[in-house]
Point group: C2
Chain length 122, copies 2
DNA sequence: TTTATATATGAACAAGTGTTCATGTGATGA
DNA sequence: TCATCACATGAACACTTGTTCATATATAAA
């Protein structure tokens, strides 16, 4: 990765030693990309509401459709995004498909996020 | 909000009591929107890398420019997104502006997210 | 088999996002 | 004052995203 010499501060800023030590602790590009993908998948109100509902109970697509007041296609498309990101898991039950959260990290992340938002309000 | 009667399951699915109880526990639309906004702000690789760096140390724009290998304008634009979401805070130091994480929730969220991603890899 | 139901998916389109380029602003130093 | 530096910002543009509509698939019932 080429340093952007032309943009480099010359005087009081650009702390080479600090930058060097921080550089060693940085995530790799690929990890950063994966992490961003995870948050991107959480970054939509419809998907947040779906996850909020699935945190409370496993539900089928139709239940979610009713809870969200959205049409089935929109819900299925968003569930696909969440499945691809391995945030939710699904199992077939007869004609229906039951969805649930894939692991506990997700609910932890959402809880922390909720706290953050709640505090920002005050 | 009108229920989507036409999309409602009729037989084995659509559990009205379950749906009703879940509905009571759901975040309001506005909270879901705010939470999604938070995650959306985290959902970009450049911003993840910025936050990762700021977690390790407060840094000025120029340091970040160098660390990320990106031009200053791109970094400033992304910092604006993070400031607007109140994820980072900034203070002026002479000609420079020093950035840092706004609160501890953010590093917690990123840590949990990193764990999740790390486990998915295995 | 035929029909209906629950869900998935492709195409299309409006709306949103991230980067670059050019330029503006405010602080510093000559 | 004038030039320079660090940073911010607006415009433009390619790219992505979320919803809708139409349709496909799979299970179950008749």
């Amino acid at each position: 990765m080429p340093h952007h010499e032309n943009d480099r501060c010359e005087d009081t800023c650009f702390h080479p030693k600090l930058v060097e030590s921080v550089a060693k602790g940085l995530l790799g590009r690929k990890s950063a990309e994966e992490l961003a993908q995870l948050f991107k998948a959480l970054g939509d109100p419809t998907r947040v509401r779906i996850l909020n509902a699935l945190y409370l109970s496993e539900l089928c697509v139709c239940d979610l459709t009713d809870l969200l007041g959205m049409n089935q296609s929109a819900v299925s498309h968003q569930l696909r995004v969440l499945r691809d990101a391995r945030i939710v898991k699904s199992k077939k039950m007869g004609k229906n498909v039951l969805y649930g959260l894939d692991d506990e990290h997700i609910s932890g992340i959402i809880s922390l996020g909720s706290e953050h938002v709640r505090e920002l309000r005050q």
